[in-house]
């Protein structure tokens, strides 16, 4: 493999990885704080993609700009889902929360298929610029912008978690729920806010995905898979870990497509995940203790 091809494959992987970071960050946050695996995450991303698509088709809004509106809107939906539905079973065994969010995913996904059909749609070139060439490597501008925006959104949430009052309360609940309660943190409100932030990130990720990839409700399981793998790779509940996990997954998929064949990309990612789970379940950056 020549050096220039190697550089191109690496660049493709990193561009994909930036998007994967945004896909995984909200999922990882919800899992880490609430101990809920949110099966609804993939469909929430697709919902964000549709919002960006219709914003672009009907009003000519750039998907990067619509992310600023779509994110909070889907975040509000997430807040309500946690406040009124998931909260009721939050103390139940893992299986119950899994099944509930799976059921919510069935509802949202089926509603999108009924409303928009399962046909693939695509936003045309957003920036309209030709690819950048950096040395031997060609980089499509839209992809670069989407990857950077994905990482920026993830970092913004990280800053919010570490700097703001609500963010620090969320981190406190993640670390020790009981002690946080004793310190006067209202855990129910924190849970709802966290789920809201998680789905807001899903909505933003959906807008970024829409700028690059075709849109269909059939994408949800794939996005959920990406979120799983990137989240476990990076470390559960760690937002910065989602960036690391997303980039690693993007690069591994990119090289896997060259060496093993693109038709086995999910197998490569899955095998990587299972090895990771067995070897270091707390992830590259995470801490042990979450189950």
């Amino acid at each position: 493999m020549s050096a220039s091809l190697l550089a191109q494959v690496l660049a493709n992987g990193l561009l994909l990885g930036g998007l994967y970071a945004a896909v995984a960050a909200g999922f990882s946050l919800v899992w880490g704080v609430l101990n809920v695996v949110n099966m609804l995450h993939g469909s929430a991303i697709v919902l964000g993609s549709y919002a960006a698509f219709f914003g672009w088709q009907k009003f000519g809004v750039n998907p990067f700009l619509s992310a600023l509106v779509v994110g909070p809107a889907i975040g509000a939906l997430g807040w309500a889902v946690q406040r009124y539905l998931v909260e009721r079973v939050i103390a139940a065994p893992v299986l119950i929360t899994l099944v509930l969010t799976f059921a919510l995913d069935l509802i949202l996904n089926n509603a999108m298929i009924a409303a928009f059909s399962a046909d693939y749609r695509k936003i045309g070139s957003v920036s309209g610029l030709p690819p950048l060439t950096i040395g031997p490597v060609g980089v499509p501008v839209d992809r670069l912008l989407a990857a950077l925006a994905g990482i920026a959104a993830t970092l913004a949430i990280h800053l919010y978690l570490t700097r703001s009052r609500l963010g620090r309360a969320i981190v406190a609940v993640r670390m020790d729920r009981e002690t946080a309660m004793l310190m006067g943190v209202k855990v129910e409100a924190i849970y709802a806010a966290t789920f809201g932030i998680g789905l807001a990130l899903a909505g933003i990720a959906g807008c970024l995905m829409a700028a690059v990839f075709p849109i269909s409700p059939l994408n949800s399981p794939g996005y959920l898979g990406v979120a799983f793998v990137a989240c476990v790779l990076g470390g559960l509940g760690s937002v910065v870990g989602a960036i690391v996990g997303g980039l690693v997954l993007g690069v591994v998929e990119s090289f896997g497509a060259i060496f093993v064949g693109p038709e086995y990309s999910v197998t490569v990612a899955s095998v990587l995940l299972i090895i990771m789970l067995l070897w270091r379940p707390q992830g590259l950056l995470g801490r042990a203790g979450y189950e």
Binding site: L104, T267, P281
Partner: protein, 315 residues
């Protein structure tokens, strides 16, 4: 006579006898009603898969999503064997063996994980097998799938054999589940479910018992996949490795009662009725309506029917 009624073998033997009676009698009653016969076969299949899932998810408390993996593997093992000219029974045996041979080492490895981690690792097995099956086109026909030899025969005869096979399989699974639940294995599994650390401390070989339960469950799922492939006559990866094969048994068992012996049976019946009503009346939103039903179930009656009834009786 008292010793006979207390024998641990009485109930499983009765279940097998009842299964045999239904398997012999049902086709005669249902041969004129192809729709009911089809529904009964689907029900027996769901009962079998639910009982198999309950061995791991219910008795042991590990939320497995691997049912679809062993189901699909069994279906393909039988289809490939029959294409190679093997007799049907040998194809079925191969399906059970393949399921068990994959489940034993894989289960031993991932049963070290708990909670969500185990659920995800088991789900990944479905994805991996689906892609490998699609990719290995020379053996499996890839995305084109496989037409099973003999699939073009008399549809009424095929429906009758399928119904009988599925009912017998469900009876065998139920009998096995009773033997496990009442025996030492079931006791060990119950200890693991309640507190695995304490069970280990008490000298229970948890890794071995968990792996045995997982392997038994996989063998049953493999057989169910084989029976399904023979019944439908055509399989492809997106059909037999569909995650819904993992999810429906879980939902059915949740409805009836997780970890109880008859919960999967009761739950499967209730689930089939709802699913059938929804598919018939709400075609475009059938899956969504199923989601609404599942969400309501989990929110209103998370314990399932049988435990809820038992609790009401006790209080």
């Amino acid at each position: 006579m008292k010793s006979l009624t207390q024998s641990p073998w009485l109930l499983p033997v009765l279940v097998l006898a009842a299964g045999a009676a239904i398997a012999i009698g049902a086709p005669a009653l249902l041969s004129q009603h192809t729709y009911v016969s089809r529904l009964a076969t689907s029900l027996a299949l769901l009962v079998t898969l639910s009982i198999a899932w309950n061995l791991v998810g219910g008795f042991t408390g590990y939320p497995s999503f691997a049912t679809a993996a062993f189901f699909g593997l069994g279906a393909y093992a039988t289809a490939v064997a029959q294409q190679a000219g093997w007799p049907v029974m040998a194809g079925f045996a191969l399906a059970a063996i393949c399921g068990a041979l994959l489940a034993a080492p894989f289960g031993f490895a991932i049963l070290r994980l708990r909670g969500h981690y185990f659920a995800i690792a088991s789900l990944m097995l479905v994805t991996i097998l689906k892609e490998l099956t699609t990719g290995w086109a020379s053996l499996t026909g890839g995305g084109m799938g496989i037409n099973l030899p003999g699939a073009g025969g008399d549809p009424i005869a095929i429906a009758r054999i399928a119904l009988q096979t599925m009912v017998m399989l469900a009876a065998v699974a139920l009998a096995l589940s009773i033997v496990v639940a009442k025996g030492r294995l079931g006791f060990g599994l119950a200890c693991i479910r309640m507190n695995e650390t304490a069970a280990l401390g008490a000298g229970i070989d948890a890794p071995r018992l968990k792996t045995i339960a997982f392997t038994l469950s996989a063998a049953i799922c493999g057989l169910a996949g084989a029976a399904y492939a023979r019944w439908i006559g055509y399989i492809d990866p997106s059909d037999v490795y569909d995650v819904m094969w993992s999810v429906r048994p879980i939902i059915a068992t949740l409805i009836g009662g997780v970890g109880t012996i008859f919960g999967p049976v009761v739950g499967a019946i209730v689930y089939m009725v709802f699913e059938e009503l929804m598919w018939r009346n709400l075609l475009t939103f059938g899956t969504g309506a199923l989601g609404v039903l599942i969400a309501l179930l989990v929110l209103v009656m998370p314990g399932g029917i049988i435990p809820t009834l038992l609790k009401r009786k006790a209080s």
